[in-house]
């Protein structure tokens, strides 16, 4: 059942993105920015947590889940460290993912050559 929930939640979030791409001509960069910002705001309002509790990876794998992670991190840090947590919470929460992405990007660039598109 968890798998079905993850499938439906993740699929639905992607459909929202697809409609935005086709109807508004927004570039993928803008779509990704939008999803992170909205995810962060919904996370701060406590709404995204409900989506996450329902959909699991269906809510955490899309980039809106990245935004949710940022809001969760900054909340936890402010509660633990006070005012300075405002500045450390977000980056701490996403540090693992960003570091891994940087590492893999570098490795991929070292291994692979640019390819022609057929």
């Amino acid at each position: 059942m968890d798998y079905v929930k993850a499938f439906v939640t993740g699929g639905a979030i992607c459909v929202i993105g697809q409609i935005l791409i086709d109807k508004t001509k927004l570039t993928s960069a803008r779509i990704l920015v939008l999803f992170v910002v909205v995810g962060c705001i919904l996370g701060a309002l406590g709404i995204y947590e409900k989506v996450y509790n329902f959909g699991g990876a269906g809510a955490s794998v899309p980039l809106s889940g990245f935004g949710y992670l940022l809001s969760k991190g900054v909340y936890e840090e402010t509660e633990k460290n006070g005012i300075l947590g405002i500045f450390t919470g977000g980056l701490k929460a996403c540090s693992g993912g960003v570091s891994v992405a940087v590492l893999f990007s570098m490795l991929a660039a070292l291994i692979f050559e640019p390819k022609d598109k057929k």
Partner: protein, 336 residues
Amino acid sequence: MLKKKGRSTAVFDNVNVISSASFGGKKESEGPLGKYIDFTTEDAMYGEKSWEKAEIKFFREASKLAITKADISQSDVDYAFAGDLLNQCGASAYGMRDLDIPFFGIYGACSTFGESLSLGAMAIDGKFAENVLCTAGSHFCAAEKQFRFPLELGTQRPPSATWTVTGAGSCILSSNGNGPRITEVTTGKVVDMGVKDAANMGAAMAPAAAEAIYSHFLDTGRKTNYYDCVATGDLGEVGRELLKHLLAEKGLYFENNLTDCGIEMFDKESQDTHCGGSGCACSAVAFCAYFYKMLCEGKIKKMLLIPTGALMNTTASQQGESIPSIAHAIAFEARC
């Protein structure tokens, strides 16, 4: 006496296209015009280390082959008028390093080939030159990288998108010798009808093409069926539909003689190119590979080539500007 008719059409007594050379990539070789292209390569890097270097090589080799085919040497070529799609006309400037020819680098985006033929013909008919080299080239991968996104970024191309042609086309114009004549050129004006969608270049360029075609027929007083073939540069399917509407509004109707180099270049269904080909190389390769041969063989007697260009600047686009466009009409006449 001014060699000009009407507002913007220059008339020539003696300009001959004495040779042509065309180079293309893999996709071009598989298209309907593939068998007419002089040289094609499977390798998008053409043995070089980057797509940009490949674009330079396409440019240089096409220019050299056109000179060889004209049976002249580099020192016989008085001027080169050439351009491409790389920033600061990179491919032509770097390609010309190895050629011993006085050079004018020009930029007209995808209309560059029309611009080079126009200026070349003027130089010859003005008796400033005996032989002139006209070359234009582009590269799909280099153009995507420069103007759009990395190739491996997983984006969708909308149905109105076109596919930049990889390759280069080159001609030698001369006051001596045989070959199809350039009889007139009508120089286009910059037209901007407010289209901002960079994935719909045909729509941005169609008004410029309509303007150039209308001016040409107005200046020369000819009828639309005077030409066997009227070929725009790279409007694609969407652009051609819009062009037909715009021309009909001005009272110009074409039957089967209106075509588009971009539509001819690729097979839309099997090659997944959406609206058709585009880029500097589109009209250059289509003309040098196919139309030039048809003119030489007399299968096409009179032809109007209208390379079209979207002159947008990436910075201005990001600042919200729409896409200004241009088109030049070049009239050819077969010898026989």
